[in-house]
Symmetry: none
Subunit: 418 residues, 2 copies
């Protein structure tokens, strides 16, 4: 946080315009059937190529080598708030990165974490009642399938009733889920209900400070309700274990830190939610890339800092569809060209993480990135690719430095010390 305080002090307002263009899961890996080329190397993208030739290329890392970021942590790092600096609760990260949310037995779209919400990360687990003591016998409920977890989560959202508290459930992979409790006066300062070892009694949630007493009661009511709901559900899951129970973090937003007017263009709810968390106004309701472009154009005059998100590069890579990812780059390329033509003082093309289609998953590889501004040191990269970016003049930098770099590039950061 101390670095953010320095940045806040150096911030300087002007009308210069910045575009952060995110291809979700941008980076890939060579495919043996494609001449050993990556998706970015194969894609025919004249507008991106021309941009890369004017730009300084390099790579960003969200959490350093070996750490594969989820979408929540990846975007937080890109926006300058890596979680290892800020101590954002695991529950909050889980919820920010979830694409499915159940509320009162219904799937809901566009969930946004609000101030005062309490978020937790959960495990479905198995317990036994031994003379009234609930002993955890399997902390992961014998690893249910993801579909079973989705079914259980829907059921919990339908059946659990807590006075004055709304419950939102976010099913994850296998035994994992997220939960949000929303109600007046729910404050953090709570112990976890996960004993961490099997064969141990299930602990109740306790308040570590008096203000959190109502929240502890709500958490314990949630666990009791989950136990009741799981009876007769046809699963080895019989209880839930909650960890990382915390409020929405009080992040100093980008407008607060830099005095910028920040606008986000994204089609998918979770990216809209993350952008909202860090202070972007979330614009319009675009569904297609073309609609995203029109949204950007419509609000171009109203903001200094834009975040523009393309989801499908990630989605198709998760399916192992190398050609599909190439196709998304090629289809978006003219849209990118039109967006560029609006006129900018600094533009970066980057990602929140890599999703190589040969892996069908997010990966830990550094994120190919190209940044242009009038005073950038352009290199001789003919194209934005993993291999060119590995040798560019931007070098390898932590993703959290990207926003300060864009601010410096546009005269929005003053000198540090005389």
């Amino acid at each position: 946080m101390k670095r953010l305080e320095v940045l806040r002090e150096l911030a300087h307002q002007n009308n210069k315009k910045i575009l952060i263009w995110v291809f979700d899961g941008i980076g890939g890996l060579p495919h043996p059937d494609k001449g050993g080329k990556t998706e970015l190397e194969v894609a025919q993208t004249p507008h991106l190529d021309a941009f890369a030739q004017r730009a300084s290329t390099g790579r960003t890392m969200a959490y350093g080598p070996g750490i594969t970021p989820g979408s929540g942590p990846g975007h937080l790092a890109l926006f300058g708030y890596p979680n290892d600096q800020l101590q954002i609760g695991r529950g909050v990260l889980e919820v920010l990165g979830s694409e499915v949310c159940f509320h009162r037995g219904q799937r809901v779209e566009g969930f946004a974490l609000q101030p005062g919400d309490l978020a937790a990360r959960g495990n479905y687990a198995t317990h036994e009642d031994r003379d009234g003591v609930h002993v955890i016998t399997n902390r992961r409920a014998h690893k249910p399938k993801t579909e079973e977890t989705e079914r259980l989560s829907l059921r919990l959202s339908e059946q659990i009733q807590i006075d004055g508290v709304e419950v939102f459930i976010f099913p994850g992979m296998e035994h994992r889920f997220g939960v949000v409790l929303r109600g007046a006066g729910l404050q953090e300062g709570l112990t976890e209900t996960d004993p961490q070892v099997e064969g141990a009694p299930e602990p109740a949630c306790e308040a570590t400070r008096p203000e959190a007493a109502a929240a502890a009661a709500a958490v314990n009511a949630f666990v009791a309700g989950a136990k009741a709901a799981l009876q007769g559900a046809g699963s080895r899951a019989t209880t839930v274990l909650l960890r990382g129970i915390a409020e929405r973090p009080a992040i100093p937003t980008l407008p607060e830190l830099y005095g910028v007017r920040a606008g986000a263009v994204a089609a998918y709810p979770m990216y809209r939610g993350i952008a909202n968390l860090v202070g972007f106004d979330v614009l319009g309701a675009p569904k297609t890339h073309r609609e995203e472009l029109e949204t950007l154009k419509a609000h171009y005059n109203d903001y200094d800092l834009f975040y523009f998100h393309i989801k499908e590069t990630d989605s198709v890579a998760h399916l192992g569809d190398f050609d599909g990812k190439v196709g998304v780059f090629e289809a978006v390329d003219p849209i990118f060209g039109e967006a560029l033509a609006l006129g900018w003082d600094a533009v970066v093309v980057t990602g929140d993480h890599c999703t190589p289609s040969v892996l069908m998953e997010h990966s830990w590889h550094p994120i190919p990135t190209a940044i242009w501004y009038p005073a950038c040191l352009a290199d001789d990269s003919p194209k934005l690719t993993e291999r060119h970016c590995a040798r560019g003049t931007l070098g390898d930098i932590e993703a959290r430095h990207m926003i300060p770099l864009l601010m410096a590039a546009t005269g929005k950061l003053l000198k540090y010390g005389a």
Copy 2:
């Protein structure tokens, strides 16, 4: 500080000789009228070229991407003491980086911060007296011009009288200035007099520990004196707000850490002051590059670690004089050659920050650097330039690692652990 303690433990004394050659503001950017080349790319510097060909090239960053270091923070990072590690007060940084100092209505040269000095960062500000309550109405006195700030600072230094305390004022850009109070028993542990928001009452300075009571009284006397001096000064500034009030930091000096004998060759007062702060003996009184070389030669046998500073690369770049900066590199090149010929066990050529002449200001770009020692891994850079250094074998490193690297290169750092 923990890393410094490790370094102190590993330090090993020998007679190997190290030269740190600093071109102030070394790095530049391509100029459209110069075939897209930078100052370093254009300059004809046979001695520097030959050195780069034997060296490992790379780049250093003082505070990471996007942060433009002032001369004080930039040099502290290069000497191994980046301010984000050490919590040096903002007042101290301001004063260390200032080129103008007023004392008793006179401009003084060669101000050196002494142990026991109390330094603060100041704003000229505007206030209103509302029934005896001083309310801050503009925290920056409506942004006076820099010349007005210089005039006001001279006036304050002339008029403010505090018993047993000497006052030094350092005018900065627009509303900013630095102040040093020098007197017996002035200890840190003080609250700030800046309410941080406009429309709030101006707080008095208070001691947060009993030992700081005399200092709090001196600070409040300074503010009262400033208010009186600003009356009739023909400015919208009517008071001053002080932040970051602290003593000269108790930095473990380079001689203390490494057991080296450290000698500094610099012509300009502020670089001599910073070198003094970290434990260099400041040598002679050279005014020209040739006199700097003669100073180095005269003391060559007396020290193990030399800092050699060339100021003009920065000065001419601040004027936007591309050819002038090229000319300084070319004029200094034979001096560098003569200095090299003295014989060294490790030499680094680097900067404290970049000052591209096309920007006419310090910048945030990584600092081109070449280091030579017998066991360095030379790369194929034909010349020390921004673009070659972006791909050199040194890589991109934090500036604070340069001193340890030089110590290791000369056998002055032992193995860490068995």
